[in-house]
Symmetry: D3
Subunit: 169 residues, 6 copies
């Protein structure tokens, strides 16, 4: 995992604690990193900022301290709008976002809070907002991923690196 | 993905629809399969049956049709006790399981339903039931994984292979 | 109660445990059986299968192990569709049923989960789906009855006869 | 049903609207009345007042206007304490009742709000408060019955007789 | 506080216990009374009865024994309709009120139960029902005030004066 | 209101938008300011920081954007610990606070989320943590006040001054 961590140091200036937490077992670290990198960094109809917005809105439902701190910083950084990061953390409904982004966040938050109620009508709302079949997969997959990582973090009392707090304020 | 699917056919007699769903993109399929195989099949302080019990109890909270059908069948098969599979689907509290397994399921279900309330006391309950630090990681990681896959399945209206229904009844 | 139980043995091959539970007092057994038989077996605008579908969808909200096992079997048997029984148990929204049946199940589930919110609009939805005044009474009465029997079963840890599990799979 | 209604007129001065509602079908009226009379009036380890207290506390969770009005009046009348009727309607936790009665109400309210969570420990709490096996059945059966009748009343917009409002104030 | 209490005695025949509770500190009593008097008694697009209806519907969500008793009496008195007071206490949806008043109560209750979900659409509903900008402030401010006083009362086990129970029945 | 606003400008560098919102009516502004100043600034067994911690933990339950931004800044400033402000916003359970402060926050959050369940045992927990009768009043009164102001802010879409975002990071 040395080269992997070296790359983090170079890019972020530190190794995120979530990776330290997974590093006790290379198979787990690699599977987590592969899935994370594909979801958050690979080409997609969603911008990187939009994926981070989903990450934070989902983490807000689950009140995950680790993810709210780490991905709240990412929203501030990618948007250049500190307010937007705060809104995703506090109540995404307070943000002045496009109809497209609001539909995306509504789906992600409903999928988080009451997945049993997601039906064809919810997917139709996304399509009406301009998302195609593949975009819907990506919205769902990012929201679902943070429902996983929120729970790993909460279950193990994971603590965010202190560096995040002052970033891009 | 051909060889991967061939292995499924050989082992299960069919390719699970969840893999078909991920197969539109090899990076996503590989990341999903790598994480799944590590969590559910690699050596762990939890038996394979226990991991499947967590899968079903979590999916019951989220009322995920796909995962309840597929993993309900796995619990019936691995336990040789059809009743146990039904209980995990319907209400895990109705099952006559060991104190150890009850503690494991209580943690997984609380982590699913109210992750923000998981605290040191919850981990202490697991330790008191005989789980060590690594076991707690595994309980959390399996529960968290199904919180992800329940949501991918619900978001995309994934349908379980019909073969599962009659298995191990 | 001998003749009553004899009739069960003849018809079902066993005496349902719920009747055994009520049998400590003939007045209670008779009142329960009279109400049950009228609701589930007497002529109605709802088919027997539809009444059993309501029974299971309601019992799923209340996560009643006894009723889900016993009436899940009835749905499988009456419909000849094992999948339908599973869907009523797991998440009725996953079933491909007619608009009429979906409206019926939506009403029964809302009446179960948030009876205080049932208003004229909910009854209008049933009428729009083709149900008349008497049908609405029957939907309500069946849903209400299982809200009672779910609670008697849960309160007393009632256990379903093992015969149900493998029926009509 | 004439003689039945005549008896109501004689005893109460009016025919409760719930009976009028069931009277469209003698089989339904008789089954309902038989169950009601057995539960609320037959000999039991619970006093008639205690059974009415359960009726109101359950109806308060379900916010059933009909049952709160009709059975709130019964609590006021049987107790001679108008305040007690109000407390059962508004928040049973505000009432200064015996430990025994508090345990009884706690069980009835939990059975109403989250029946899936009732377990052996809840029954043990009742036994510790002095209730025997048969008493527990009666608490459960009364609470369960009002979970049924609350829903029939709400589903059909049943309206209480005006006579109740001023009774025993 | 003597003159203040004397005025209560003269007007109501007693000093409400909530004022006795605040009277340990004149600054607190004066601030509470100033806010209360402005909200409930000063000129407004809402009638005094409408403000009391909001008070009771909000207190019903919060199940505040003190406020339900005291303000339930006020609704009975101001409306001359004892039934209306009971309906606000038990389930405001059961009341036959105007569309305007229903919209007002829906807003107040949603603001109480899920303030995070109040958005422009909710304010638009109020405007469509005939309320102007200032009226919306008053609905919000009265509902918000009782969300405060419900919690002070519940936190301190405040008990309503016995006089309220029989008033205007 | 000129002198009042001038004092804000002098002390904070700006006039908080909540005061601008109330300023359409001097009676309302004065009552609000009198209550706020007494609760948050007057002598109390709770430090000013503790009162702000309650404000933010309560506002987090209610997801009030205005109050989380404004009082989150106050917690950062008074504590000199930016992390603590974030924790109160995101999930107060993640903060490493004293047992005394944890008991205080637990009470305030329970009083916010389920005021009907506050009973003598909850007050006993506060006393066991070292709070006296008057302290309990202050905890309750501050928590209750923010349950009011959260709702006024949400109902009227109040927006925090931009100055808060970067303060004390």
């Amino acid at each position: 995992m040395e080269p992997y961590f070296a790359k983090c140091e170079e890019k972020l200036g530190f190794v995120p604690n979530v990776l330290q937490a997974y590093a006790f077992d290379m198979a787990k670290l690699e599977a987590f990193a592969a899935m994370y990198n594909d979801l958050m960094l690979a080409p997609s109809g969603l911008s990187k900022l939009e994926r981070e917005m989903i990450a934070v809105a989902v983490s807000s439902v689950n009140r995950c301290y680790y993810c709210l701190v780490a991905h709240g910083a990412a929203v501030r950084q990618l948007s250049g709008d500190p307010k937007l990061g705060e809104q995703m953390v506090m109540n995404y409904r307070a943000a002045r976002v496009s109809k497209r982004q609001r539909a995306m966040l509504d789906f992600a938050v409903k999928l988080t809070a009451e997945p049993w109620n997601i039906e064809e009508e919810d997917r139709a709302n996304l399509r009406a907002a301009g998302f195609d079949h593949r975009d819907i997969w990506d919205i769902a997959a990012v929201a679902a991923f943070f429902n996983m990582s929120n729970r790993v973090a909460s279950a193990t009392d994971m603590r965010p690196n202190l560096e995040y707090h002052a970033q891009a304020r």
